[in-house]
């Protein structure tokens, strides 16, 4: 039987190398492409009819749009509107990667820390640039809590900077840990089903429950990643 971690293995589908850098098309890349294709089809075909009274599919497409629009409005405010396309793309991408990864024999790109870290780091860099462009040098006052006595600065500023630098790490770690732990757990319980023979009905029942839980976690983690991006953006736009 395959190891519970075998599902995270990266396999090359088409080998390629540009200037010594490995740019092979892997199963991870394949499922990212599948996720993006699915999102595009879901949204473009969903709103194709442009019905005044939306059908089921159009409702779902509009609902996802309005959900993120509301999230941005509530958490960032009016100033966050230019960043809506980015946040919407981020949410849909993570959501589709997470949920498509739950289909048997598929691969979950978000179960690899390098994928989640790349996204979190892009958010971190973007938010920092937005903050500096909008506030100039005043942005650096972010690292000193207002109202604290000035002689505390040598202690407080390094702590604040560390706390800020930890953002991309914790943001990516959260999504990655949830996805990886969930998929490993599913695989371990699936192994029990086979090994126990007839008695395997018990772990199978647990597996059904776990799968529903994983489905919730997949949606919830996409939401958490998005709302944290919104809050970081809010901090950058409004300081404190």
């Amino acid at each position: 039987m395959a190891s519970p971690l075998a599902q995270f293995e990266i396999k090359n589908i088409a080998e390629a190398s540009v200037g010594g850098v490995n740019v092979s098309f892997t199963n991870s890349a394949l499922f990212m492409v599948i996720a993006i294709t699915a999102i595009t089809l879901f949204l473009v075909l969903g709103v194709r009819k442009r019905a005044t009274v939306p059908g089921r599919w159009q409702s779902m497409a509009e609902l996802s749009y309005e959900f993120i629009a509301g999230l941005v409005r509530d958490n960032v405010g009016q100033a966050g509107r230019p960043y809506f396309p980015f946040i919407f793309t981020l949410f849909m991408f993570i959501l589709f990667c997470n949920t498509i990864g739950l289909i048997p024999f598929s691969f979950t790109p978000t179960s690899h820390i390098i994928v989640t870290f790349a996204m979190a780091f892009a958010v971190f860099i973007g938010v920092t640039i937005v903050g500096i462009v909008k506030h100039g040098t005043k942005w650096f006052s972010y690292f000193f809590p207002p109202g604290a006595p000035i002689y505390m600065a040598p202690l407080l500023v390094p702590i604040e900077i560390l706390s800020y630098l930890a953002r991309p790490v914790t943001l990516s770690l959260r999504l990655f840990a949830n996805m990886m732990a969930g998929h490993t757990m599913l695989k371990v319980f699936a192994g029990f089903v086979v090994a126990l023979g007839l008695l395997g009905a018990a772990p199978l029942a647990i597996l059904v429950g776990l799968f529903i839980l994983e489905l919730i976690v997949a949606v919830l983690q996409a939401f958490v990643f998005t709302i944290l991006t919104c809050l970081y953006l809010h901090d950058a736009l409004h300081l404190h």
């Binding site: 509530d74 405010g77 100033a79 702590i159 560390l162 930890a166 790490v169 770690l173 809050l231 901090d235």
Partner: protein, 116 residues
Amino acid sequence: MTERDPGPSGPPLKDLKARIARVREREDAAEAKRQGRANLSGSGVVLRVGIELAGTLAVGVAIGWGLDRWLGTGPWLLVVFFFLGAAAGVLNVYRAVKNLGLAAGYRRDLDPGDKD
């Protein structure tokens, strides 16, 4: 205006500010409650707190270790940054738990209207 003053007896605008503040406070409390409910899914909070604490500490240790290697200052910066990382981790956990609004930044104004 739905709360129109019934007669000329009461000063209609005198306590308007206080009334607005009262309504806003009530809405904020309701909003905070809603947010708390949405994010208080047991294991989620535990995992979040753990990751926040360990992740921030790891960043501190990594920076200390890297600076030590770069500057050759023995184990001292590692020690300093270990404690700074631990403090920052506790700070992040405190902020995350304080409003359970998943914020890692400063106090988040729950005012839905925009200040800018």
